[in-house]
Amino acid sequence: MKRVYVNEEWCLGCHLCEYYCAFAQTNQVSMARALKGRKIHPHIRVEESGAVHFAVSCRHCEIPLCVKGCITGALSIDDGIIKVDESRCIGCFTCILSCPYGAISPSPDGHAARKCELCQATAAGVPLCAANCPNQAIVYEDRG
């Protein structure tokens, strides 16, 4: 299955992935119109300290602790992709606590958990973080 992979060696720490992620969530055509004046809530985040930086996003684990821990069944594995059903999420954030990568975050209104779903349901259809990474530090590929 195709997943988003991160090559730390080539990450520039430019944070473009975060903005493309936020853009993908809006399903709009123009990034300027979509994001102008708005605070972004990306599902991929660049972790950095000094000269070290790399992007972190959901790895869509084969044995996901978040899904195991979900008490309402809001998190599920759909064809390998771990998805959140916001209507079932009660915002207990057990998943956020159990994800070893810190890849799940609360939604801006605090009522549900949100995470990367590989852009499958967006207008773009492919993860924009990988498609727009200037140095191929984020790739979307099938590694078996």
């Binding site: 520039l12 430019c14 944070h15 473009l16 903005y19 493309y20 300027a32 994001l35 727009n132």
Partner: protein
């Protein structure tokens, strides 16, 4: 701005309707031309720090940025131009030689653009390269004057060592130090994939790249940096660099801050101390001296590697090349005055040397006249920008060309001509690890392969149009060229006819 600061040449224009304050411009500018202003949650810029490398423009996700030529001007004067006034002001402040990088950007004639190429019509059919075989392979090195056979009639294999190239192009000498590890890796991997050569320049060869040896030209220059027996034997050929088109008669100076640990080890020079290449080779003051170095290198490589001698195109280039051909060298590389550099005194770069088209034609004519053209191959470099330039160079007498600037452009260079600052935002002309990682060699090598493959295809198309199916048949075939708007003297040096004149 201080009283004596010069006006910036360019301004950063930000479309505030589009800027989403993602700060990518700020994070990507090593010159700190962009700044985030938290009080206003907005970006600000300082054009005096901008080198116009277009890194921010290219990465801005909303295309909010552009760099524009500043309209801020001194009182107009065609003699004391803005450029001259600024240069004088800078020198009055610093007391230093003006430094520049990349090739001569001044407004000299570009002869390639005043030469047109022939095509077949009616009496000699053109060839379709998609349907018929088309040979772009070349071999560089001396060719025997005649075929010799033994008593059984079998050909005696007396061909001296050659460099085999799948197409008549090579990447010019650019040292590890002047360009980054990742830039070198991109060039090496591309050359290896394409079956051509890249050139170490005067910086030695990093051990990681020994595996690309068969596609490497190893250079020996006046500083002799990184030269040892294994190095010499690693390459496909050894190049003695006598001069460089961007700075004929001038040595090199790699500042200590670029001599980081790996570069120091590869160059065999102390870390952090300037690496200075003398203007002359201190053991070469004549063709006889050159001959000694040529044969020293042949001895060191067991007579298995062709020796290239690279010179800058200067006024007496034809006579010098004739001497080199007689020194035992196998290949002569001529570097025209448009050739690039990581740093050169501006006055030298912009005013010394001659155009490659004229130098190449003069050398080829002279060697033919003297009957020694077959003793050497000729590589032309310095200002070759496209496949048509390559075709014209070959028709003027080159066996192959060196491509430096165009290769760097493929790697992302935007010709901001600030290499000497060592803060290349594209990860090419820098040794700062944070900047070097911006050039992913997998992307770089792929782009180089794309460019060369595209040019090879175009060369085949152009040759096919002329009814020529092999580079060998194009070489020195000046009847395939015509001048447009050139005077008698220019035509006679180029050895071509004016457009409108027929074959006879």
């Amino acid at each position: 701005m201080g009283a004596f600061d010069v006006l910036p040449d360019y301004e950063i224009s930000r479309n505030l309707d589009r800027c989403i304050v993602c700060r990518v411009c700020e994070r990507q500018c090593a010159n700190q031309a962009h700044e985030y202003v938290p009080e206003e949650d907005a970006m600000a810029s300082d054009e005096s720090k901008c080198v116009n490398c277009h890194r921010c423009v290219s990465l801005c996700p909303t295309r909010a940025l552009k760099i524009v030529r500043s309209s801020n001007t001194y009182k107009l004067n065609d003699n004391w131009t803005d450029k001259i006034i600024k240069e004088i002001s800078i020198q009055a402040s610093t007391g230093s030689v003006l430094l520049s990088s990349m090739g001569n950007p001044e407004d000299y004639p570009i002869y390639f653009d005043k030469i047109t190429i022939n095509a077949s019509q009616v009496t000699n059919p053109p060839i379709d390269p998609l349907r018929e075989p088309m040979e772009t392979r070349v071999f560089l090195g001396p060719k025997p004057d005649s075929v010799e056979r033994d008593s059984n009639g079998k050909i005696i294999p007396n061909l001296p060592p050659q460099v085999k190239l799948s197409m008549p192009m090579m990447f010019s000498a650019m040292s590890y130090g002047s360009i980054s590890y990742n830039a070198h890796e991109s060039l090496a991997r591309a050359a290896s994939e394409l079956g051509i050569c890249y050139n170490t320049g005067e910086g030695g060869l990093h051990e990681d790249f020994y595996k690309f040896g068969p596609n490497t030209i190893v250079q020996v220059a006046s500083g002799r940096f990184g030269v040892h027996k294994q190095y010499l034997n690693q390459g496909a050929a050894v190049e003695i660099k006598m001069g460089q088109g961007a700075k004929p008669g001038i040595g090199g100076h790699l500042p200590g801050k670029k001599i980081v640990a790996d570069v120091s080890r590869t160059r065999m020079t102390p870390e952090g101390s300037d690496a200075i290449s003398p203007a002359p080779h201190h053991d070469i003051y004549s063709i006889e001296d050159l001959r000694q170095l040529v044969f020293s290198l042949k001895e060191a490589t067991d007579y298995k590697k062709p020796i290239i001698v690279k010179i800058a195109a200067v006024h007496n280039v034809a006579a010098i090349a004739s001497g080199i051909a007689r020194s035992g060298a196998d290949i002569i590389a001529i570097d025209g005055f448009r050739g690039g550099t990581g740093a050169a005194p501006t006055r030298i770069r912009d005013s010394v040397g001659i155009p490659i088209e004229l130098a190449l034609a003069a050398v080829d004519s002279k060697l033919r006249l003297e009957g020694i053209r077959g003793k050497v191959s000729i590589i032309a470099g310095g200002g070759i920008r496209s496949s048509t330039d390559i075709v014209k160079a070959i028709a003027l007498g080159a066996d192959a060309v060196y491509l430096g600037t165009s290769a760097l452009l493929a790697l992302g260079c935007h010709l901001c001509r600030s290499c000497q600052a060592g803060k290349c935002n594209w990860g090419i002309a820098t040794q700062e690890p944070e900047l070097v990682r911006r050039l992913n060699p997998s992307i770089g090598a792929k782009r180089l392969v794309n460019l060369m493959t595209a040019w090879q295809h175009e060369i085949e198309e152009i040759m096919g149009g002329m009814g020529i199916n092999s580079i060998e048949a194009l070489k020195g075939n000046r009847l395939m060229l015509r001048g447009v708007g050139l005077n008698e003297k220019e035509l006679s040096v180029l050895g071509i006819k004016h457009a409108g004149e027929g074959q006879d």
